[in-house]
Amino acid sequence: MKLDELSSETLKIIPNLDPHLKNAVANAKKGDKRDPSSSTAADEIAVIAKVTDLDSWNKLNRVRTVTSIDGTARDNTTIVTARIPVSMIEAIRQEKFVVSLKAARPVRPQLRKTIEETKSREDLLPIGNHTDGGSRAIVGIIDFGFDFMHKNFRNKDGSTRALAIWDQNAPAGPGSPFGLGRLHLKEKIDAALLKPDPFSALGYGPPEEMPDEEGTHGTHVADIAAGNGLGSGVPGVAPKADIIFVEISTSDIPANGPGAVRSSLGDSVQLLEAIRFILDQAGDRPCSINVSLATNGGPHDGSTLVEQGIDRLLTQAPNRAVTIAAGNTFGVGIHAAGRVPADGTSDLFWSVPSDDSTSNELELWYRKGDLFAVEIIAPDGKSVLRAEPNETKTLQAGNKTVMLVDNRIGDPNNGDNMIGVFLRRELPPGRWTVRLHGVSVDDGRFHAWIERDDIGQSIFDGPFDDTHTLGSISCGHETIVVGSYDAHQEGTPLSEDSSSGLTRDGRPKPEVCAPGRNVFAARSLTRTDVPHVGVTHKSGTSMAAPAVAGIAALILSEANSNHRSLTSAELRKFVKDAARRNPPSGTNFDLRFGKGRVSGAASVRAAMMP
């Protein structure tokens, strides 16, 4: 076929139609016949619909309803799976009682990708292993929105697999861990599951979906690590592990300032408390915890107290693992590095978009032997502020601080120096210059990060580099940090935004990569056993880290069956040494793949060795 022989044509199809259905309609209008399949007759198509009136749906001619689930969503709509004639797609979609109509998608093969590609599916694990789906381990998930009703998190008898849910958002009461939130133990969750509305009965559940989101992050993440597939049809990595979920919240975000300019779901203090809580609940049982949270700023050397705290918890006792998402900031322009010459200057260009309605924040770290002054130059070229070492300077507009520059000497945790710059949203957009002046320079090297801002991200307008883009809590010494690749594409390439090592102090992180692109896993508020309904796809290192958390649970379960204890360092070594190459090419540490693509089979094999 030659391209110049092709012609374009406009087909009249109703606009608000699912693309797969639109394609079926288009083919039918061109005269193409659909072949029958094992579940559909000729010219019939399998669909999933969300309807407000089931009776009206059932009265539709030539529609074969296969399953209906009343009250699937909190809005009391009903989800149905059905077979409908292709010729009726447009008419059915336009019925007032049809809220949504989508073609059934072949998700099963895609769902399998994580457990298949990482060699962690039961039949791919070494012969003679005793992982038993991670049954001896606990998987802890610290995240947002756990749908404990989803069948992937329930046993065959309908009881919950969750040992506990700690909702940090709830008002405190008697028995609240550390005086914070509300604790729901297994007995209480099971009792709620017997009620007509378990979410109301328990006082906890995932929120309604936002218009641009299909399902909550926490349900998806938990399923990748530990779902059992009873609902969706395909299990996660450690399908028999017990689950502890912490709904993380934030305690101390200011009403103004940078904390208010980016969307945040948790904070560092309550993250550390969540890990402490899960380990306390686990007691002597092996425990693997996943953290798919991040932010950009910080020293990136593992010295923050939250990273030190996690390291301490991991080394206090054996059989513990914490996996953390590497972050998704490669190629975004949030990191810059350079060298300030003695008695010279080095410029960073910081671009604030014209439609940015939020404030912006930059954090720059350099070695303790150097001293820099910092000068801020506005987009119009005017120098507006200069702060010498150990000075904090502000720009005021009336009573309001619109710029703050903090030139700190001697961080209390690592002794290095740090410059923080805050630009309030009232300042003009454009290309700001951060000019560093060498006051006393021995080494001169620095790294700078622009803080995360999900509403309006400012970036470096050169020179920037994409190394050192790991998240701020992803640089600890004992944690396993995980990057993301695409298991669906030939050659399993890296996800384009998966963050890059090294740490600022030169350590090789991330440790490994796992599938994180278009990962199909449980979708919250779909309490169904219809495979095509109960899942959704999400992307990011958030989806890669829980695969490794599940593998860590398998390793710990295997070791436990042999009465063997593993330190966090030993477990990390198993995971790293077992990682597969090609990609990445060669044998050296790769800045984004780490040691390579994680292998459940090889990691478990290492744990089987005496």
């Binding site: 914070l180 560092s268 991040a294 961080d411």
Partner: protein
């Protein structure tokens, strides 16, 4: 009188170089690192123990000067916001 966090050398930079001072009676939560096992600074309420030298706790911002001058406090990290890695 308001408290400016950038005045305190023992406070880990939080990523929230709050441009406006915070109220002295505002309750803050932080991770504490101390020099002496089981030491808890006066007026700090311990929430979770990490080990003998590290814990999470709450206090009011007005006590920051006292914490800054406390020789047995190495550093404290006021909560830093985190987002999803999606």
């Amino acid at each position: 009188m308001g408290i400016s966090l950038d005045n305190f050398k023992k406070v880990e930079f939080t990523g929230t170089a709050r441009p406006e001072p915070i109220s002295a009676d505002r309750t803050l939560t932080a991770i504490f690192k101390v020099t002496e096992a089981d030491y808890v600074p006066p007026k700090v309420h311990v929430r979770a123990r990490i080990d003998s030298m590290m814990f999470t706790g709450s206090f009011v911002a007005g006590d920051l000067w006292e914490l800054e001058s406390d020789q047995r406090v190495i550093s404290l990290a006021i909560s830093r916001p985190l987002g999803l890695s999606e």
